[in-house]
Amino acid sequence: MKRIRALIWWFRNQELARKLIIINFILIVLPLCVMGYFAFSRFAATLEKKVGDYQLQTMKQLTLHLDTYMSELDRLTLMPYQYEPIIAFLESNREQGQPLTLEEIKQLNAFVSQVFLNGRIDIMGVSLFGERGASYVVLPESQYVTTYRLDENAGWLKNEQIRYGQSIFIPTHDIASTSGTVYPVFSVARELRSFDSGKKLGYIVIDVDPKVIHRILSQVTLGSRESLYLADRTGGTVVGKDGSAPLRDAASLPGEEEPEGVTHAMADGERLLVAHVTSPVTNWMTVGVVPVSELMKDTILIRNSIMLLGILCVGLAMMMCVFLAFRITQPLRGLIKLMRKVERGDLMVSFPVKQWDEIGHLGKAFNTMVSKLSELGYLLYETEIREKDAQIAALQSKINPHFLYNTLGSISMYAEVEGNREVVKMTNHLSRLLRYSLSGRKERVSLASELEHVKGYMAIQQMRYEDRIDFSLEHDEASLACAVIPLIIQPIVENAINHGIDKGTGNGMIRLACRIDQGALLIVVEDDGIGMTEEQLNEIRTRLRHAKDVGGRSGNGLLNVHRRIVLHFGESYGLTLASMPYRGLKVTMALPALTDKHYLEGGSQHA
């Protein structure tokens, strides 16, 4: 159980492609193996049975064929009954080696010739043995012999069948011709009896060349390692086909009660299929032995080809499977790679969407996400640059504030001592002005402090311009609490002085108004200077709308302020200009009316 859980756990953590491959492997190989195994084992079993039946049929045919020949031989042994002189010869009383008369020689020779000619050419010898000593034996390549005696101990004499006058077939044994050549023969023997007396007269034995059986056997092929032979009941081999080794274990052959059948035997650790049929004529068994492996050779070939094909197919399928798994998961892996890049901060990536499946959608979403992310990043980046720029600009204009403070402090002290109120006032204003613009690192300030700063600034400017400038400030009480970006009003006012007063003649009027209108904080700076032509106005408006140039040294104060507002609060806020030539310029600054205290503080954290 634990192991299974571990296996499932292991599987769960595999790569998607590997999971797909494992699943496909199991889906393909398992059914294939099970199917293959069952199909093949059924097939093999059926084939073995069929082959066994076929072999038995072959044995039957073979036995039938042999029996035709054997019956002929059997009939030949009946011939003495048709030849009176032969019966008389067998009945006669004789000494061993007693010479034959010319008449007898002729009759016996004629009889034997008849046997030879009526039989087949395969007859090698004919022997006649009388009960009372008569003997006439013709062996191959020899003249007849009268001295041979029947071997009383011959096994076939003890066979019961011979008592009933039936012929008996004797398995292959050797006979020697008078010139010494030894011939293997099998024999058919019969006891001859007198009809009148009912007594035994003697025996006729016909020796036959086993070649004839051999020839018949050699026309039957069971397999390349077959063993095909005739055996008698005692297990003696009559004749076998070339290279046929009879079963050593005769016990594995069934007994007499089973005249035919198919059995299995073991030899040298090999399973053998043994088919046997007993001939009713000779009582010999035709035995065919073939190693099962020999019969199953084709089956094994089939098995091997099935296996080979199976492996080939599975291999192909697995290759396809691997290919597909990787093909399917490849976009995912691409996505992962892209995400890693994004993780490392590279936002200049894009997922190529080629198809509109889940991955396509995922890729598209990823692309959108990355583009959003990069846009946000850019905005943040620009904001910070603008901030820095403003500060740097302030710094550049007022280097070393402490020195300035101190100097201003000294000037103020001297003026105090001298009693010059104007100088003291101006110096103090300047000091505050500097402190505000340099020390304030806040992201947000309240409009009140921003207005204080502008007032200080204007006080100095008024002193500078010796009251050529009129400055009026109107504001709602509510608007004072609003959060604004620091140093956004002063540049506008400065711009108004530059454009309205410096370039104009006589007194100038600068009006600053702050109010909240429909959730927006509107800060309006008006002058009564020379104003702008329509073209000039349009050019500035276009620049406000489109220019994103933040690093411009010659940064127009208006543009700078506008971009800062847009970056902080979005496109819906910023500056709007209105002007007519010689009627002055009206700059309206729109900001969200944010009064939240938290926002004021949070803003500082953001920096």
């Binding site: 797909l20 496909n24 889906l27 393909i28 059914p31 294939l32 199917m35 293959g36 199909a39 010479p99 034959l100 008369t101 010319l102 020689i105 020779n109 010739s113 030879f116 000619l117 050419i121 013709v138 191959p140 390549e141 020899s142 003249q143 007849y144 012999v145 009268t146 008078t178 010139s179 010494g180 050549t181 050699s218 026309q219 039957v220 092929t221 084709d298 070939l301 089939i302 080809s305 099935i306 094909l309 199976g310 197919c313 599975v314 192909l316 399928a317 396809m320 499977c321 597909l324 798994a325 399917i328």
Partner: protein
Amino acid sequence: MKNGCWSKRIVICALIGLLTAATTGCSSGEETAADDKPPGGRERSAAVRLEYWTPFSGGDNQFMTEMVNRFNRENPDIEVVQVNARLDDYYSRLRTAILSGNAPELAILHQTSLPQFVQNGYIEKLEEPARQVGLDWSGFNANILDSTVYDGEHYAVPLDTHTLVMYYNKSYLRAAGVLDGAERPIVGQGAADFEAFLGKLKAAVPADVAPMAQPSTRIDAVWLWWSLYNQMKGGGAFYNEDASEAVFDNPQALQALRFVHGLYKSRLIPPDINDAFKLFYDGKAAVLITGVWGTGAFEKAENLDFGVVSMPVLYDHPAVWGDSHTLAIPTKHTLTEEQKRAALTFMKWCAEHGAMWAEAGHVPSMTSVVKSEPFTSLNYRSEYAASANYVAYWPRHVRQWSIVEVLIQEFEKLNYGQQTPEQALANAVKRVGNELRK
């Protein structure tokens, strides 16, 4: 994922398809595999098969079997299957086979029985196939070759000459004092000396040993008679000129027959001998006059110290019964040119390997073989090789074989004391005359 599922299914379908294709393919392949395996040896099935009938007995069969086996080994494209039969039934079988169209492709024929097979075209003319296999007729012993030519046509390839020779058991001859320093028998000159020679042997050998062994039945006595008859001046006549009458009822023939009969009567040849060959083989005979085919067999006999000389000349000039084994092709309508050529190839091979056949005892038919080292190096054979030059063949007659049968029967009666030599000759001439008039 959806795509993966589908492709998987396609793959499985393809696999199942392939599997079924493979199994059906294999099962059909099985059938063809069973077909292309012919029964029996594959090599041999392509060979030209020739059935070859032989009538050998008395030991020479094993030499022929050896030759056939060697020929088959050396000529894988021809398979000669030898079938040996008893000489007693051989010609009867062969005649039946030829008449019933079941003749073998090759058969041994004795020169004596050639005429009956030449008649009616029972055997093939060999000129054309011999030319095709390059058989050179001039290489044969002229005496032997002539006996196979009829009307200028070759009908058979002579394999050998076999004549009567005299085998003797050296131990018995030595004991009787009739063996000279060269271990040759001291036979003397003429019929009387020969009788005396046997007489000495009879006195010296144990009672169960035959001074001379010769069966009382069958052809042996006829051969001996024919040899002696031909040794006489004015002897050897069998038929009159137009072969309408037998003419061997004459003084010379009678003299020869009387001599042969005398040997039996005086028990120099013991009675009731059936297998003289076996007697000599077993060391139970001092002298045996039989065909040369005994040499090979006797050489194999243990404890037999024997010698062989050509047939002694008892009368006026050398002559000896002889015959030749010849190879012929029985006519058969199914016989192919290819088989004829193969048969000639075998014949040529046998004649050229006459030295092998000579091991059985025969004198090879090719002069080059007789002179060759393999033959001359054999013991005994050169003793009687010259016999081939004075062979007394039976006269050519289509029924010669059955006419000799008549002689055998009459001589058997003589041997069994049923008639006198005069009666035997007279009866034989009468019966032969009847045969001729048939």
